[in-house]
């Protein structure tokens, strides 16, 4: 657990140091780099439901819910998946409903 999603703190490549703010070679993906020249760089996680515009988080959609359930059947926390708070709340209730009707396990193995 808590392995794959934590791709935190990859060191920036030295050429991409933000000492020259006029350089346009950085996409909007990463934070523009702090002025202090931190060597760490956290990839910005985005909420899947916001990006793909999934409004309805339904308990019947096992395929979707399974992505947010760890191997043992636990709900993966927001800090690992990047889901935003309102969507995580809906997701949690959907997963709990799915568990109740045996679509998802309470505890696997």
């Amino acid at each position: 657990m808590a392995d794959e999603v934590q791709e935190v703190s990859t060191p920036t490549r030295p050429s991409g140091r933000p000492d020259r703010p006029d350089r346009p070679d950085r996409g909007p993906g990463g934070p523009g780099g702090r002025e202090g020249g931190r060597k760490f760089f956290r990839r910005k996680k985005v909420c899947k439901f916001c990006v793909e515009k999934i409004d309805d988080i339904n308990y019947k959609d096992v395929r979707l819910l399974q992505q947010f359930v760890a191997e043992r059947g636990k709900i993966v926390p927001r800090r690992l998946t990047g889901v935003c708070t309102p969507h995580q709340r809906q997701l949690t209730s959907a997963i709990k409903r799915a568990r109740n009707i045996a679509l998802l396990p309470f505890a696997a193995r």
């Binding site: 409004d55 009707i101 309470f106």
Partner: protein, 132 residues
């Protein structure tokens, strides 16, 4: 007070198809006599259960979509509980969720009118630095 509900239930896997149809028909009957209107029924087929229920590893899923009030839903649930081949059921009230979805859709529709030009511009400014 009419509300929309979904009732999903699991039937034991060794129940024959005709018996399942019969069970569904009787349940619909019970629902309508209790004052609910069955809008849709869906047999979702046989599925592996995520955990054992009454020592069964598989189950046949059935989904009812209903417009009903609380008392008729209560009656239907009682019938399901009594029915021997039904392993498990869940009732979900859906009207509030549907209202919310419609609202979101409306907001999105009103917003969509603008973006095409904006989105294209954004895509350009995004794509340009990546290629250099």
């Amino acid at each position: 007070m009419q509300r929309s509900y979904e009732v999903m239930f699991i039937v034991r896997p060794d129940l024959l198809d005709e018996d399942l149809d019969k069970l569904i028909a009787t349940m619909q009957n019970h629902a309508t006599t209790a004052g609910a209107t069955v809008q849709n029924t869906e047999k979702m087929g046989k599925r592996r259960l995520a955990y054992d229920v009454k020592k069964f590893q598989d189950g046949q899923y059935v989904l009812f979509t209903l417009a009903a009030d609380g008392t008729s839903i209560h009656e239907l649930e009682r019938r399901l509980r009594v029915a021997e081949p039904v392993l498990k059921f869940i009732t979900v009230r859906t009207d509030e969720e549907q209202q919310r979805l419609e609202k979101v859709k409306k907001i999105r529709a009103s917003r969509v009118k603008r973006p095409p030009a904006e989105a294209a511009a954004a895509a350009e400014s995004e794509g340009a630095p990546a290629t250099t």
